[in-house]
């Protein structure tokens, strides 16, 4: 089967088995290794990409279903010169540890913050359940996101000590 994938704005011809996962094609064929292969069952969110702007786990997406869709991977979110606000907040709050979950975390939470610019701590925690992290214990990531809140949001008592 031949189809054209739109990946980070570039058309990419694909000639393989349409049942292969997008994750496998990204990592093995295209060497876009920023998308991480962790649980392989749609549970951890480390392989999150955006399909037409919506976060999806790429390990469960057959490439054959993606003709015509805009696929954004972590490599397409920003570049070394211009980080997104979410990436900047994560840097500024020193929340990264091993780093394996963060590409997915960035893609999910960037979308969530765009849709919910002033979330509560509880809303952020719910939104983050699809992105598992083994290192950080989450709360400092949430502090970083709260700092991005709209005017009057993110009062000091919402941020951990």
């Amino acid at each position: 089967m031949m189809l054209t994938l739109m990946i980070n704005g570039d058309p990419v011809p694909y000639h393989g088995d349409p049942r292969r996962s997008l994750l496998e094609v990204l990592r093995e064929d295209l060497h876009l290794t920023g998308t991480k292969d962790v649980c392989g069952e749609g549970f951890c969110g480390a392989c999150t990409v955006q399909i037409d702007g919506v976060p999806k786990v790429s390990c469960l997406l057959p490439v054959g279903s993606l003709a015509g869709a805009e696929i954004t991977t972590i490599e397409g979110v920003s570049n070394i010169e211009t980080l997104t606000a979410v990436q900047k907040a994560f840097l500024e709050y020193d929340v990264v540890q091993c780093g394996m979950c963060f590409p997915g975390m960035v893609l999910s939470m960037t979308h969530f913050m765009a849709e919910n610019p002033s979330p509560t701590r509880a809303e952020l925690k719910s939104a983050m359940t699809g992105n598992i992290c083994r290192c950080t214990g989450y709360e400092r990531i949430i502090d970083a996101l709260i700092s991005l809140g709209a005017d009057g949001f993110g009062s000091a008592d919402e941020v951990c000590p």
């Binding site: 990592r27 060497h31 290794t33 920023g34 998308t35 991480k36 292969d37 962790v38 649980c39 392989g40 069952e41 549970f43 951890c44 480390a46 991977t73 972590i74 490599e75 979110v77 920003s78 570049n79 070394i80 980080l83 990436q87 994560f90 840097l91 500024e92 020193d94 929340v95 990264v96 540890q97 091993c98 780093g99 394996m100 979950c101 963060f102 590409p103 960035v106 952020l124 925690k125 719910s126 983050m128 359940t129 992105n131 598992i132 083994r134 290192c135 950080t136 214990g137 989450y138 709360e139 400092r140 949430i142 951990c160 000590p161």
Partner: protein, 788 residues
């Protein structure tokens, strides 16, 4: 050693230099390194837990598409291990656990390698497996290693025998006399914990090549020098033929403190002459996880009405699985964890690593300490109940302080735990009586103490001072996510040389470039590599200042290194730039560099009281006080943590913000262990939990902001008085949650994890408790060394 600079110069919340690329998805972990021309490998593993190998025929697999080479036991004759060499790389005549490697295949693609691995003809005559420690210690138990007595001993002095791979014992004082006193209350507790899986997001992975007669192993490890040593040992090649490099590691937590996949890839690289990548699938990673071991624990204490612990006898059985591994070493730790925290009039401790036909276990953050602290603190609360004493009062009275002796007779320096407890009481208030809330839930609180240690041992460092005024730090340290390599070490070097940490280049681990190191684990990196780095800096300073002294016509003692300059003390701007001095030094002597080394200072224990121990005393004790409030739903057994507080002995906090990250993450891992991470072993000897949907690690909804206080100033031989801070946060989480739940429901807790069904069973009185009928109440009968 007096410092040539104010210690606070090394203290700052330096951001991580590796964070940006990690956030951009640009960091290349070992799993990301398998470009064009790289072969891919897959393992064929045993699907029975115990059996005699009749046949392994690789012929049909060899002719399959893409297959380049297959390796079996013939390619790796050596045995490896810790303390005893009991572990072959591949099963040879017998299989001892479900998942044991039988062969590995290298092929052009992963799919081809897996298909060929599955096509290897394997015939195994199954033998009934020994799956529990109770079975393994039964009188007529089959021996998992019938040839145990012939194995090479790598460390002398331990009692071994039967299915006991290793025994460590402590005997100090006369417990028989203590237990026979007519004024004591005897309190007994039995405890059991299951395994915990690390679940690093990067599984164990390696890329190996074979060039110019040497192996190059690029791997996701915490221990490059162990990988070098073990690979050479099992392959039967000189250690110098193995070169190990380590990129960013996507999580370790102790799992990568052992050599694992590396020798397989090395063999295949030599056979094919190609670069070979071997990555565990998630299922393999889970099924062969070198987990935190399951353990059975019996503690008996003789306590006076005033609350003195005059005698304590304990036996801890640690399941090592099919091979001894880390558990052999970790038997040592029981003396300092279960035997820690409190002053003991007399003590007997037996700690055994027990073979079973289950996957081998390994090291996991605060290994051994986590469950022994759970058992000890639950037991302590049960003692308080038995003698009618407030648990905080009892702990304040009995925690080890300055001049007190530990289980093995080491003399502790400094009062640390008691002031930490006082701080907890002052800050969090005294305990209120457990109560039922208006919502029908049961509310409880607990405060526990914990003793851990910093695992010191050898480290080396070289510092090169470059002509541009930057410095290059060369060590075998590995960045596993904890931040040591990108925060504390550059901070230490920068403070020593008067430059900014951004001007300190930190070389990634490379055994061809750096000296030997014990590895990244046990909270040792900042301490051991930091101390070696500080010594290397001292040599650099003295070389530099000798030249500057001539240039500035000022005695060396009056010169200071600050802000990239050599200044005359008290006269900012009087000196010259560090680059000028380096240039002059090069003219006179050549480039400026220094080297440093560190090892365990070797704190003394009481002679003769510890046997089978790898260390007799702990060089750098670390203490923790944890406190929490919980609410338990009596209808469902669900535990909610309402508040969690940590006071952690850190010596000196070099990067408080990074330590906060370790505390938040470490406590959360402990919450998983305490409440919902559970591994069960089925009749086939395999884990039931082989994926994320069945092994429940914490999500954002399972944790809460951890309140914390960094307790500074306790004695430490670490550089600038530091103690490692990343290992310890998990230490007493299981203990604290268990004690709080026990307090809330009014029933002792004796097993983890406290899943809702288990808690409900305790509330309803349906839990039958922990059956430790394989352990005797006569302590000596549980030992090899003292059994009569």
């Amino acid at each position: 050693m007096t410092l040539p600079y104010p210690p606070n110069n090394a203290v700052m919340n330096l951001p991580r230099r590796d964070a940006k690329d990690k956030l951009l998805g640009r960091t290349r972990y070992t799993v990301d390194d398998g470009g064009h021309g790289t072969l891919h490998a897959a393992a064929r593993r045993s699907e029975v837990a115990s059996g005699r190998i009749v046949k392994i025929d690789v012929t049909p697999a060899l002719s399959m598409p893409g297959v380049k080479a297959i390796a079996t036991h013939e390619d790796a004759p050596g045995l490896h291990g810790i303390g005893i060499a009991d572990h072959p790389l591949f099963a040879k005549d017998v299989v001892r656990y479900h998942g044991e490697p039988l062969a590995v295949v290298a092929a052009t693609t992963v799919a081809q390698a897996r298909a060929a691995a599955a096509a290897i003809l394997v015939e195994i005559d199954p033998i009934a497996p020994v799956l529990t420690m109770a079975e393994a210690l039964a009188k007529d138990a089959p021996l998992i290693h019938p040839d145990w007595a012939t194995y090479e001993i790598l460390r002398e002095g331990a009692a071994r025998g039967g299915n006991v791979a290793w025994e460590a014992t402590v005997v100090r004082g006369d417990t028989d006399a203590a237990f026979a006193r007519d004024d004591v209350t005897i309190v007994e507790g039995t405890y059991r914990v299951g395994r915990q899986s690390h679940v690093p997001f990067e599984p164990r992975a390696v890329v190996a090549s074979y060039d110019d007669g040497r192996f190059h192993i690029h791997t996701s490890t915490q221990v490059p020098w162990t990988v070098r040593h073990v690979t050479a040992k099992v392959l039967g090649v000189p250690e110098a033929a193995v070169h190990v490099t380590v990129p960013a590691v996507g999580g370790g937590f102790g799992l990568k403190f052992d050599c694992s996949l590396e020798p397989f890839a090395a063999i295949l690289a030599r056979k094919t002459g190609r670069k070979v990548s071997l990555v565990n699938s998630r299922r393999e990673e889970q099924m062969t996880c070198l987990s935190r071991e399951n353990a059975d624990i019996l503690i008996r204490s003789a306590v006076t009405p005033e609350g003195d612990i005059v005698g304590r006898e304990a036996t801890v059985l640690m399941d090592c699985g099919a091979y001894g591994g880390e558990q052999v070493f970790l038997t040592t730790m029981t003396a300092h964890t279960l035997g820690g925290n409190y002053r003991l009039g007399s003590v007997k401790i037996a700690s055994q690593a027990v073979y079973t036909n289950t996957p081998p276990n390994g090291a996991f953050r605060a290994c051994n300490g986590v469950y022994n602290t759970f058992a000890l603190e639950c037991h302590t609360d049960e003692i308080c109940k038995a003698i009618g004493m407030d648990p905080l009062t009892f702990r304040r009275r009995n925690v080890v302080g300055h001049g007190d002796i530990g289980a093995t007779g080491q003399v502790f320096e400094g009062d640390v735990l008691r002031p930490m407890l006082d701080l907890a009481i002052d800050t969090y208030g005294p305990h209120e009586r457990a109560k039922k809330g208006p919502d029908g839930r049961l509310y409880g609180r607990a405060t526990t103490v914990g003793t851990w240690f910093i695992f010191v041992g050898p480290s080396s460092a070289t510092v090169h001072l470059n002509v541009d005024g930057s410095a290059t730090l060369v060590t075998s340290g590995v960045e596993i996510g904890s931040g040591t390599m990108v925060q504390s070490l550059p901070q230490i070097v920068a403070a020593n040389l008067g430059i900014h940490p951004d001007a300190v280049i930190v070389k990634t681990a490379d055994t061809d470039a750096s000296g030997r190191d014990l590895g990244v684990g046990g909270g040792r990196t900042t301490v051991s590599i930091g101390a070696a780095s500080q010594e290397a800096c001292a040599e650099v300073r003295s070389k530099l200042l000798a030249v500057a002294s001539q240039m500035l016509q000022t005695p060396q003692d009056d010169l200071v290194l600050t802000q990239g300059r050599v200044e005359i003390r008290g006269r900012p701007g009087s000196g010259t730039s560090i680059q000028t001095v380096i240039a002059q030094a090069e003219l006179e002597h050549g480039p400026v560099s220094g080297s440093g080394a560190f090892t365990a200072p070797g704190i003394a224990a009481m002679p003769g009281c510890a046997a089978g121990h790898f260390i007799d005393a702990i060089d750098i004790p670390v203490f923790a006080v944890h406190d929490c409030d919980v609410a338990v739903d009596p209808d469902t057994g669900k535990v909610e943590i309402l508040a969690y507080r940590v006071i952690q002995d850190v010596g000196r906090a070099l990067n408080p913000r990074a330590i906060h990250g370790q505390i938040q993450g470490g406590v959360t891992q402990g919450i998983g262990y305490a409440l919902h991470e559970e591994i069960t072993i089925n009749a086939e000897g395999a884990f039931d939990q082989t994926c994320f949907s069945s092994y429940r690690i914490p999500t954002a909804l399972d944790t809460l902001p951890i309140d914390y206080h960094l307790y500074e100033g306790a004695p430490s031989c670490g550089p600038l008085g530091t103690k490692g801070a990343g290992e310890v946060p998990i230490l007493n989480v299981g203990a604290t949650l268990a004690c709080a739940v026990a307090n809330a429901i009014g029933t002792p807790v004796n097993a983890l994890p406290l899943t809702a069904p288990r808690v409900l069973g305790l509330i309803d009185g349906l839990s039958s408790g922990v059956d430790l009928s394989h352990l005797s109440r006569h302590w000596h009968e549980n030992t090899i060394a003292f059994s009569k």
